[in-house]
């Protein structure tokens, strides 16, 4: 294995260019370096104008999602040596408008996320003196997988439906809605269903399943969406056949 590797980094400087171009940088490739280390090396030593997002370097903050050799990846969890002898092509996340170089505009995701109320909704709050809302390990297990989402948006980059129709509310937002629906302390499922039963909600998904494959936290957004569809269909059948309630 060579000790250096070439990064082909997508550049977009809106004040100069109207299309993306590629710059090549040769960076060290020790076996413990991830793609983000390569980008940091470029920024520190080779070209300080390179723009990209990152923060925690440990797969928690969800900032460093990029397209590495065509696949959506967390660059802090993708080793350079996996791509030896290279080159490694680093591009911004797909399906989002690019602001500069590797930075995309995530405003669309943030606005959609708020719409599904990703927090615990109570009809009536218990008084503080009544104590905590208790939960058993089994009740925690019901939603725990979906709570692992770090909002990295790799699933949006992998979803061709979102690419074709940016109005689609998207995998992570639905998985996070499901995370709160399945929480026994929550009472907001009906309010979320109003948003998610829209045409661009759960029914926009055609179950390509790529969101689940690229998810670095094994959240399974595709599973969350299909479960949502199933429960929505069962509810609508119930209200049709049993209009006065079961």
């Amino acid at each position: 294995m060579g000790d250096r590797i070439t990064l082909q980094v997508a550049r977009y400087r809106p004040e100069q260019e109207s299309e993306a171009t590629y710059d090549e940088f040769e960076v060290p490739c020790p076996k413990d370096w991830v793609v983000l280390d390569g980008l940091n090396h470029v920024k520190d030593r080779l070209d300080g104008t390179l723009a990209y997002r990152w923060s925690c370097r440990m797969g928690i903050c969800g900032s460093c999602g990029m397209t590495v050799n065509g696949e959506p990846k967390l660059t802090c969890a993708t080793f350079l040596s996996e791509y030896a002898p290279g080159p490694v092509r680093v591009e911004p996340l797909r399906n989002f408008p690019v602001i500069r170089d590797l930075i995309v505009d995530i405003g669309d995701f943030m606005r959609k996320l708020v719409r599904v109320k990703p927090w615990i909704v109570r009809q009536v709050e218990k008084p503080l003196s009544a104590g905590e809302y208790l939960q058993t390990p089994d009740e925690l297990e019901e939603y725990k997988q979906f709570s692992m989402c770090i909002n990295c948006m790799l699933c949006y980059a992998a979803c061709p439906i979102y690419g074709l129709d940016p109005k689609f509310i998207g995998p992570a937002v639905i998985a996070l809605a499901q995370r709160y629906n399945l929480d026994n302390r929550d009472q907001g499922a009906a309010a979320r269903m109003e948003v998610l039963s829209e045409h661009e909600g759960i029914w926009g998904c055609t179950f390509v399943g790529e969101c689940t494959k690229v998810c670095p936290k094994h959240v399974d957004p595709a599973g969350a969406i299909q479960r949502y569809k199933l429960s929505a269909a069962v509810d609508s059948m119930k209200s049709f056949f049993l209009p006065r309630g079961a």
Binding site: A20, E141, F207
Partner: protein, 138 residues
């Protein structure tokens, strides 16, 4: 993204890469998805074929014989072979997807995906045996 968002000195313009019409050829997984979705056309064809068979039976012996002769033609045989292959593909991919959508609890425990998958294949095998028994009269 808000289409009417005003450009500023700091956001002179976004780059909005265009999704190709042939996006489904970019990855094997996307192609498998399109084939899975497209295979429903062949499922529809078998439904139509079954209805045509029922109509022929209802119309009597001569119509039934004519239907059999038409079905033995090379074009219909070829269409049915291709349709059958897609039908198998459709069933297998549908079964693979099912455990993601179905969450079945037994007591407090969630059934693992492979149990659900096995149940689907068992139901498929059972239905096939019933159909085979009906056809052969064994």
């Amino acid at each position: 993204m808000d289409q009417n968002h005003a450009y500023t000195a700091y956001h002179p313009r976004w780059l909005r890469p265009h999704v190709s019409t042939y996006w489904w050829l970019e990855k094997p997984a996307y192609l498998a998805f399109i084939l899975r979705e497209g295979s429903c056309m062949f499922v529809a064809w078998f439904t139509v074929y079954l209805l045509l068979l029922l109509r022929a039976i209802q119309q009597g012996q001569a119509a039934y014989e004519a239907f059999l002769a038409w079905s033995a033609g090379p074009v219909v045989v070829l269409v049915n072979i291709v349709s059958f292959a897609f039908l198998i593909f459709h069933a297998i991919t549908f079964f693979q997807a099912a455990p993601q959508a179905m969450v079945v609890h037994v007591g407090h425990r969630r059934l693992p995906a492979r149990v659900l998958l096995a149940a689907h294949y068992a139901a498929w095998a059972a239905a096939s045996i019933v159909v085979f028994w009906l056809l052969t009269g064994a």
